[in-house]
């Protein structure tokens, strides 16, 4: 914008102005190239989802449209109605919501307490315990899936939504504790001491001072826990066999296995599963990115 008012003056003389103009022009071409490449990449990212949503909104046919439809040609909600009512995706959606919400609440409450202990106190074995938690972050969950199954069985947690909550929460603890501890450690000591002077006990400090100050980090932990529970498939596949206890990923995968060509229904259910994820992601974007980059960036 400054370039336009600047250009006519610079045209005739002044070596400095010419240099300025020259350095401006490649920049604009470069911006165009950048935008073009990014748009191409974004199209490749989004195109599969467009095909998915289109197929979910079109009548179900055994033969796929050729060329593929990126936008629906005929609109119908039949797949959504059928998936929701006849194929019990309403139930699966409810199961997923129940499990994800409980997991989110439980993991935020429990890990904030654990993180507070690590951030606020010196106590024996503290560093050792924290190293073990960090080591737990490195272990791929699948390595312990066999003994976890044996454990779930002995705790009577097979085929139970609460059992899923228990193991999902446990699986989040190491990461969310790590995340929250860093935040609690930044709470100014003076505020803590001021509360001591006012005669506040430790529980009161935790609830009135530390928790409210850590709200952004708690939001990050909540977004991660929710998405983790909502998207999880392998553990649910392993412990849930009762068809009425299926979560959405389990329901979708099982349905596709049984009706291999009913793609319209599969994608209607998939779209329903993706909508809350995108809502949570867009709403909690800032917090999510803060969590992803924690520990990654020095």
């Amino acid at each position: 914008m400054t370039a336009t008012s600047f250009k006519p003056k610079s045209l005739p003389e002044a070596d400095k102005a010419t240099r300025n103009e020259r350095s401006k022009r490649p920049f604009n071409v470069w911006l165009l190239v950048r935008v073009a490449i990014v748009v191409c990449g974004a199209v490749l990212m989004v195109a599969p989802f467009m095909i998915m949503v289109s197929a979910s909104l079109e009548p179900n046919t055994a033969i796929l449209p050729n060329p593929p439809h990126f936008l629906p040609q005929t609109l119908t909600s039949a797949n959504y109605e059928e998936a929701w009512t006849e194929n019990n995706f309403a139930g699966f959606f409810g199961n997923s919501a129940y499990v994800s919400v409980l997991t989110t609440v439980a993991s935020v409450v429990i890990s904030s307490m654990t993180a507070f202990a690590f951030a606020r106190f010196d106590f024996p074995l503290k560093n050792f315990m924290f190293s073990l938690l960090l080591a737990g972050l490195m272990i791929p969950g699948i390595v312990v899936i066999v003994p976890q199954f044996v454990l779930a069985k002995s705790l009577n947690m097979l085929d139970s939504l609460e059992g899923l909550v228990f193991f999902y929460t446990a699986g989040q603890i190491a990461f969310t504790t790590f995340l929250l501890r860093a935040f609690f450690e930044r709470v100014p000591r003076e505020l803590d001491e001021a509360m001591t002077v006012d005669g506040a006990g430790i529980l009161r400090k935790f609830l009135v001072l530390y928790i409210p100050l850590a709200r952004p980090a708690l939001a990050t932990a909540a977004v991660f826990s929710f998405l983790g529970a909502w998207d999880e498939y392998v553990w649910a596949l392993t412990v849930i066999s009762d068809a009425t206890k299926r979560t959405l990923p389990l329901g979708i995968a099982a349905f596709q296995g049984e009706h291999s060509t009913a793609w319209g229904l599969v994608f209607a259910a998939s779209t329903l599963a993706v909508i809350p994820v995108i809502a949570v992601y867009v709403a909690g974007q800032k917090h999510l990115i803060a969590g992803i980059t924690t520990g990654a960036v020095k």
Binding site: R34, V38, Y233, Q256, I292, T293, V297
Partner: protein, 323 residues
């Protein structure tokens, strides 16, 4: 380090407004009673040790047994037999090879593309936030949804990918049976891996690009460096640590590839696209051979540990030499 990040985007100016370090006022860090910190930490620690620590030890134990799933039958101790069995099992080696092929096809491309788009999105451009959101949507979407979606896209008859190749680009005159052969199946699974993980690499690298000091770029510009020189001599050294972190996590992720294979090819045809985790999972939960499954899981875990360690060691030392 982590603290600065938590507050969001105010990155490079952090040195001025650095969050204060907690005063290490010794007395106030001591609990009033010894059990107070334990009372806070207990629920989390108990859950963690019950579901991760204990199963890890238990997993090692199970791997030494011909484990019986039925409580009425006794499990028999067979020492290292499950381990030697895995090392002599051709299907196990096929699965390891497939994971290696998947790694080579997906990880370099994912990291390189993630870096490319991070660099492109680093400076201001119209729609920057929207693009970042679009690139990240596959990352937050369930593996089940994206795997079935890619299975659909790679359908042999009238699938979108075959339409693109035969009718749009005219590269081939017949439909490719993508998921019905070993190598094309692994290509399809790798493309899904790239598509799903690219956004994560992008976001992490983008955050670290913001931490490279502007004054370094200005100094390079004064020395007459062009864009490429700046990238090689300022950007890359500046984000080296993060790049290594991204690479290591992607390599670990590649060895742990699982739901996409399970749902796209289910290891078929005839076990030719099996990867370690699908094979392990089937041994454990289809054939109920818990001992064998645990042994394979342990071999994989040890292998991953060694590879990660070697990456840190090798790439970490290289960086010292470069200095």
């Amino acid at each position: 380090m982590t603290a600065q990040r938590l507050s969001g985007q105010e990155v490079s100016t952090a040195s001025a407004a650095r969050p204060r370090k907690p005063g290490r006022g010794g007395a106030s860090r001591r609990p009033s009673h010894w059990w107070v910190p334990w009372a806070f930490a207990a629920p989390g620690l108990i859950l963690f040790f019950l579901t991760t620590g204990y199963p890890l030890v238990r997993s090692l134990q199970i791997s030494f047994y011909n484990w019986s799933v039925l409580p009425t039958q006794a499990s028999t101790f067979i020492g290292l037999d499950n381990y030697t069995r895995a090392l002599a099992d051709p299907q196990f080696w096929t699965s390891v090879t497939n994971a290696g092929v998947y790694l080579l096809m997906s990880v370099p491309a994912t990291v390189a593309l993630g870096l490319l788009f991070a660099v492109l999105l680093q400076k201001k451009m119209p729609g920057r936030t929207l693009f970042r959101i679009l690139f990240y949507i596959p990352v937050v979407t369930s593996w089940v949804v994206v795997s079935l979606l890619f299975k659909f896209l790679f359908t042999t008859d009238d699938g979108a990918v075959n339409w693109f190749i035969t009718d749009f680009l005219s590269l081939s005159d017949h439909a490719v049976p993508w998921l019905e052969q070993r190598w094309t199946g692994l290509i399809a699974i790798s493309l899904l891996g790239i598509w799903k993980n690219l956004g994560w690499c992008l976001v992490v690298l983008l955050a670290s690009l913001g931490g490279v000091g502007e004054e370094l770029y200005e100094a390079a510009a004064l020395d007459g460096a062009n864009a490429w020189h700046k990238f090689v001599h300022v950007t890359l050294p500046g984000i080296r640590g993060t790049l290594l972190f991204v690479l290591v996590l992607q390599v670990i992720g590649a060895f742990n590839v699982f739901p996409s294979v399970l749902l796209m090819t289910n290891g078929g045809p005839a076990g030719s696209t099996e990867v370690p985790l699908t094979y392990m999972y089937k041994q454990a939960f289809s054939f109920l051979d818990f001992g064998y499954g645990s042994a394979m899981a342990f071999i994989l875990a040890i292998f991953i540990f060694i590879v990660s360690f070697a990456q840190f060691k090798f790439l970490g030392e290289k960086k010292e030499a470069l200095r």
